[in-house]
């Protein structure tokens, strides 16, 4: 067992444990903190995959923005009585069964795939993957259109979130 394997196994365990805790905790603040741990673990996985840029983005966007946003939302909806109640709904048994079956099915499928045991080829030490990614994202031959669409999507999400979350007028019906 190499060091890398040891790091991977540890990180994987951390991620899965945190994910499990996240979906089972009744306290949402705890769940959010476990989410942060799981996201951080994924960033480590990215490092192991030699995608350093994505690992940084993972920390910045997911942990820095999304997870914090989650925590804010949890705080803002603190008055909800359901937080003190049963954390899962009536169908959780079915959900559990489905998720387990899905996981099992996926693993069986992966096991059937011939390329499953391929090893990672060595990366060209001269190449700068971040530079290539940046160039590809703004190149007309590559991803400039999805990139721009994504920016428009973000703008739309920004405005939409503002409109939806804006405090209501006095008469909720006339505000529509």
């Amino acid at each position: 067992m190499t060091v890398e394997q040891a790091v991977f196994l540890f990180t994987s365990f951390l991620i899965l444990f945190s994910g499990f805790m996240m979906v089972t905790r009744q306290n949402l603040v705890h769940a959010a903190l476990y989410l942060v741990v799981a996201l951080f673990g994924v960033a480590v996985i990215f490092v192991l995959l030699e995608a350093g840029f994505l690992a940084v983005v993972q920390v910045l966007v997911y942990i820095g923005a999304i997870a914090i946003l989650m925590i804010f939302a949890v705080m803002l909806t603190r008055g909800d009585v359901s937080q003190e109640q049963e954390p899962v709904n009536a169908n959780f048994g079915w959900a559990l069964l489905l998720a387990a079956l899905f996981c099992f099915g996926l693993i069986v499928l992966i096991g059937q795939w011939p390329a499953i045991d391929s090893q990672a080829p060595a990366l060209d030490p001269e190449a700068d993957t971040v530079l290539d990614l940046g160039a590809a994202l703004v190149s007309p031959d590559a991803y400039v259109i999805p990139f721009e669409v994504a920016s428009v999507l973000l703008l739309a999400a920004l405005i939409g979130a503002l409109v939806v979350a804006r405090p209501q007028k006095k008469n909720p019906r006339s505000a529509k």
């Binding site: 709904n89 169908n91 079915w94 959900a95 489905l98 079956l101 899905f102 099915g105 499928l109 059937q112």
Partner: protein, 718 residues
């Protein structure tokens, strides 16, 4: 544009007026009468252009103005309709155009255009007069515009009839006029008498029309054509028709067809025994009386027999024995002339006298045609149209004046009764002088008036051909004609007023007097075109144009009658004698007829018109009503037809009940209900799925999606 094209256009303006007025302008009286009179004037103008072109044409009889189009494909033949202007239709067009235009103009005044609306006037009744500045004045006709629409349609019918080149379109025009006469006689439809008169006129003429239609059908089946040119101008066709036996009473085909067509004329021209409708038609407004009785409808009957004369006389040679048809015509015509003249002697209503006079004069024409005096009959048709239109319009003017007097004085008298008149000469001078001219023309006042020349020609023809009976009867009728005409003039205009209303009568407005003057000119002048060349003294001063021109219509031009002094003297004597006697008898008449006493029961007989109305009522109307009531209604309709219907209905009802019970309710409804309940239970079961919980939906979706995905992947991997 050729003359033939113009001829096509002659009938159309009044038809256009009919639709325009009815559809668009009927709310506005002024526009309506402008449209009506304007289109009549347009037709008049076209008619005059065509007439002038026709009299200028060389040998118009042989080469008439004609034009036709294929109209109806009948098997392997095409039925053509078209226009034909030959000498006969040209002169007819002339007098029709003039009289129609005059009558249109006259109607403006007669229906009190420009007068206020009466407070109590209702559509369907004659206007009762209005109050203005404290006076009673005549009020405008409530259905003024409608009147112009109707007479427009009437004019269309007449023009169509005149310019047609075949019997079918002639018959179409004929029937349009029949309809219009019904509408116009019943114009004041709220008056029961007018309603009854309209029905009577329609039904009576219908009798003739049915026979005429039979004649047309027979003619078509015998010759395969209805075109005048092809039938009447072909020796072979006429000869074939004359020599084919019809199998009825030993008549030839020509004779039978001619007789059937002539019955149509009997109805339309009100000859005995179908004369009864015409006097009753006086219930309509006076311009209608003039339209029907002078210019158009009754003339149409005579025009038709004139038109068909070659067929009616097929097999007859000048001077030879008359054909059966001609004999019948001569008999009926002469009889009607005398018969109607006698009735006219005892009538009190100014318009009824004229109506019987019309019947009598039409009888003259028919009789003339019956003895072969073709040109004389056509001549009398033309002159009579003018002077009879004049007389009718004059009598309308008199009635108008009398109604004015009635409104002024408030008397409750009949404004049409001549015995309520008298002394109108000074009150209504224009009406008097024109009426006098018309009356003298009717009486045949020698040398000046048109009526003298045409009547004299008929008498001369009868005399020259040795038709003594006809000659005698017509001469007697002429005496009576002159007598009742003078009676009418004397009672109406001369002497002193017999009622206050007559004292307050006043002259009619200019739109009424102007047509009188125009027609008076023709009532005199129209005769001068037909003065026989052989007439002593003035013969030949004016060329006898009419005889040559109209005679050209026939294949063989009829020779002019040889002059003989006897009929001339008779003409002089009957006209002057009748007029003189009439004046002598009535100059001092009071409110009762001076002849009533000496004639006694005969007078009553005449006054009641030989009880023909009662006879027909007893002979036809009552049996038909009884039959309709007892047999058709109570037995046939109520028992047989209703019985059958009820039985069918009952059977259908029970059949329906069987279907309902054994098929509809269990099968159809059952199936429908079953479908509905199945759908409902499905819905009831499935609505449980729709919980509104997104996660549950997602669970289903994920289950299905992943299930499908795995199944798919497993199959492709193995």
């Amino acid at each position: 544009m050729t003359i033939a094209t113009l001829t096509w256009l002659i009938p159309l303006p009044p038809l256009l007026a009919f639709f325009l007025i009815l559809l668009f302008t009927r709310r506005n009286n002024a526009i309506s009468h402008i449209v009506g009179v304007g289109t009549a004037a347009l037709s008049w103008l076209l008619g005059m252009i065509v007439f002038i072109a026709a009299i200028g044409a060389e040998h118009l009889g042989e080469n008439p103005i004609t034009s036709s189009v294929g109209w109806l494909a009948l098997g392997d033949k095409i039925f053509s309709i078209g226009v034909l202007i030959d000498p006969l239709s040209a002169v007819t067009l002339f007098f029709v155009a003039w009289t129609v235009l005059m009558i249109f103009i006259y109607s403006i005044g007669y229906h009190n255009f420009g007068q206020p609306k009466g407070a109590h006037d209702v559509p369907g009744l004659p206007p009762e007069g209005a109050e203005e500045h404290g006076h009673r004045v005549p009020s405008v006709e409530p259905m003024y515009a409608r009147f112009f629409a109707f007479i427009g349609l009437f004019a269309f019918g007449m023009y169509t009839l005149v310019v047609s080149d075949n019997l079918l379109t002639l018959f179409v025009g004929w029937e349009i006029m029949g309809l219009c006469s019904y509408l116009l006689i019943g114009f004041w439809y709220a008056k029961p008498s007018a309603k009854a008169a309209a029905i009577k006129a329609f039904m009576t003429t219908r009798v003739g029309d049915v026979f005429m239609l039979l004649g047309i059908v027979a003619l078509y089946s015998a010759t395969g054509t209805l075109s005048f040119r092809e039938i009447l101008y072909s020796h072979e066709v006429l000869e074939t028709l004359a020599n084919t036996p019809a199998g009825v009473w030993g008549l030839s085909a020509a004779g039978l067809i001619g007789l059937l067509l002539f019955i149509g004329t009997v109805g339309k021209s009100a000859q005995w025994p179908l004369h009864v409708w015409l006097p009753d038609a006086m219930e309509g407004p006076t311009p209608v009386s003039a339209m029907i009785h002078a210019a158009t409808m009754v003339s149409a009957g005579v025009y038709m027999v004139l038109r068909m004369f070659p067929l009616l006389s097929a097999g007859w040679v000048e001077g030879g024995d008359l054909t059966t048809t001609m004999t019948v015509m001569a008999f009926i015509g002469a009889f009607t002339a005398l018969f109607a003249a006698t009735i006219a002697l005892a009538q009190k209503d100014i318009k009824r006298v004229l109506a019987y006079s019309t019947i009598s004069q039409l009888g003259y024409m028919i009789a003339a045609l019956g003895i072969g005096a073709y040109v004389a009959a056509a001549f009398h048709l033309v002159t009579h149209a003018f002077f009879k239109a004049l007389l009718f319009l004059g009598s309308g003017s008199v009635i108008h004046g009398m109604e004015h007097g009635v409104l002024q004085t408030g008397e409750h008298i009949d404004a049409q009764d001549m015995f309520n008149m008298g002394g109108l000469k000074s009150k209504m001078p224009i009406t008097f002088w024109t009426f006098l001219i018309g009356g003298f023309a009717l009486s045949g006042f020698p040398l000046i008036t048109a009526g003298f020349w045409s009547k004299d020609e008929i008498l001369a023809d009868a005399f020259a051909n040795g038709r003594w009976i006809v000659f005698g009867v017509l001469a007697l009728a002429a005496v009576l004609t002159a007598f009742y005409t003078m009676r009418q003039i004397t009672l109406t205009f001369l002497g002193t007023p017999r009622t206050k209303a007559a004292e307050h009568a006043s002259e009619s407005v200019r739109t009424m007097t102007l047509p009188l003057i125009v027609l008076a000119v023709f009532a005199i002048g129209a005769g001068w075109v037909g003065i026989p060349e052989s007439f002593p003294g003035i013969g030949g001063v004016l060329p006898s144009w009419f005889h040559d021109f109209v005679g050209g219509t026939l294949l063989e031009h009829p020779p002019a009658a040889v002059f003989n002094a006897t009929p001339l003297l008779v003409s002089f004597a009957v006209a002057l004698g009748g007029l003189g006697l009439g004046w002598l008898a009535y100059r001092r008449s009071g409110q009762t007829d001076p002849l009533r006493q000496p004639l006694g029961p005969i007078y009553t007989l005449l006054e009641r018109k030989y009880y023909f109305d009662e006879l027909y009522d007893w002979l036809f109307v009552r049996p038909v009503k009884w039959f309709a009531e007892q047999f058709t209604y109570l037995f046939l309709d109520r028992q047989v037809i209703d019985g059958i219907l009820h039985r069918i209905a009952r059977a259908a009802f029970s059949l329906g009940r069987i279907f309902r019970t054994y098929f509809d309710a269990p099968v159809v409804n059952g199936f429908g209900d079953f479908t509905a309940s199945v759908t409902q239970s499905f819905g009831r079961a499935l609505r449980k799925i729709q919980t509104g919980q997104v996660q549950q939906y997602l669970l289903f979706v994920a289950l299905l999606a992943f299930g499908g995905l795995f199944y798919y992947l497993l199959t492709i991997l193995q």
